[in-house]
């Protein structure tokens, strides 16, 4: 097996493309739910913060966008200029659950995960064990949804449909 550090760098593009694809999915799905293999469908939205990068090492250029939805147009322009998302704030909604977090392309690590509708620890609550399982529910649910979405992305990315259908649609969206 190839060295893991080498693979981390060699496939950096895959994580960035995954984030770009999620963004494309979120903006073109409208009110429709996005299906996730082996999971209930979800509503996916891109949040207000995005970091776009181009290249690696000393030639790396970064574009940080933070603010209203109108900046998404600027971010799309960044994509056309060859910058790809390295970090993206996402919102996932499924049933009563509404999660918000930042996803990083290189390691798919998650930062700042919160469920808007989770009860949280109760004042004076000494049931720490119960809270542990509540928290693991959030972690497991979001991990499984992201794995499912990554599976969908790989399925299309490695098939002829990527060049024939998905890329033309993606480029249309970028130019819109």
């Amino acid at each position: 097996m190839r060295d893991l550090v080498e693979l981390l760098f060699a496939y950096r593009f895959l994580g960035r493309e995954f984030l770009a694809w999620l963004w494309f999915q979120s903006e073109t799905s409208g009110d429709e739910l996005i299906s996730v293999p082996e999971q209930e469908p979800v509503n996916l939205m891109v949040g207000d913060k995005m970091v776009l990068e181009t290249g690696d090492g000393e030639y790396r250029e970064t574009l940080v966008l933070q603010g209203s939805h109108s900046e998404h147009r600027e971010a799309r322009l960044g994509l056309v200029q060859g910058k790809l998302p390295e970090e993206m704030q996402l919102r996932l909604q499924r049933g009563q659950d509404e999660w918000q977090f930042t996803l990083k392309a290189a390691t798919l690590e998650i930062k700042g995960l919160k469920n808007k509708n989770a009860p949280g620890p109760q004042e004076g609550d000494d049931d720490q064990e119960g809270y542990f399982f509540d928290q693991m529910y959030q972690v497991e649910a979001v991990s499984a949804i992201l794995d499912g979405l990554f599976r969908s992305f790989l399925q299309i990315r490695l098939s002829p449909a990527w060049e024939e259908e998905e890329m033309p649609r993606l480029l249309d969206w970028l130019e819109a």
Partner: protein, 207 residues
């Protein structure tokens, strides 16, 4: 930053490898063998080891403290002694002045300066209390998945080293390639090996 925080930050791992039949008691033994040991009475700059989940001072795993349903949960404790740069500078200048006076204001040699820096740093480290930090770890052995509630590469490195040393199992960071490897069949994985980055720039035209 941990499992009980209001907002959760984590890195994911795959854990693979052979495990003994009495897996859970073996885990307890291994954790017990790599416990955190205090460095308050030493001059060590850094130390790390396992403690009970979210509990700085509890270092006992003999009673199944790490077992939580299908999960194993514990914390990585890392203690670091740091001397603030300004404090070091002040004490170095004081020591330099004293040494200069001692040798009747003859200039210090390069070696003398290096030696003095080392001595001052050691002395200050001894007087500095180590700063503890905790990073929670939750492992689902059945599904071979693990969550480390930290995202800093430095913490990741310490965790990976200590985990491998403790359990002698294969631990892989989850990132796009390793996740793909977990998901894809061999034929699809071959396609991934040949994959070129997509070009979104300039209307998708490859330059």
């Amino acid at each position: 930053m941990g499992i009980y925080a209001k907002s959760l930050s984590f890195t994911r791992y795959f854990v693979r490898g052979e495990t003994p039949a009495d897996f859970y008691s073996w885990v307890d033994e291994r954790l017990q063998a790599f416990l955190f040991r205090e460095i308050d009475d030493t001059t060590d700059e850094k130390a790390w080891g396992w403690v009970e989940l979210d509990n700085l001072l509890q270092t006992s795993f003999g009673g199944g403290q790490a077992h939580k349903g299908e999960y194993l949960a514990f914390s990585l404790r890392v203690d670091t002694r740091k001397v603030p740069a300004a404090v070091f500078r002040k004490h170095f200048l004081l020591a330099e002045r004293a040494l200069l006076a001692q040798q009747k204001f003859r200039r210090l040699s390069r070696n003398q300066k290096l030696e003095l820096k080392k001595t001052v740093l050691q002395d200050l480290l001894r007087r500095q209390m180590p700063q503890p930090s905790l990073f929670d770890v939750v492992w689902h052995p059945g599904r071979q998945r693990l969550w480390l509630f930290a995202t800093s590469p430095k913490v990741r490195e310490i965790f990976e080293t200590l985990f491998r040393e403790t359990f002698e199992m294969d631990l892989y960071l989850l990132f796009p390639y390793t996740l793909a490897q977990d998901i894809l069949d061999p034929a699809a994985l071959d396609k991934l090996e040949l994959l070129e980055p997509a070009v979104f720039a300039l209307g998708g035209v490859r330059s």
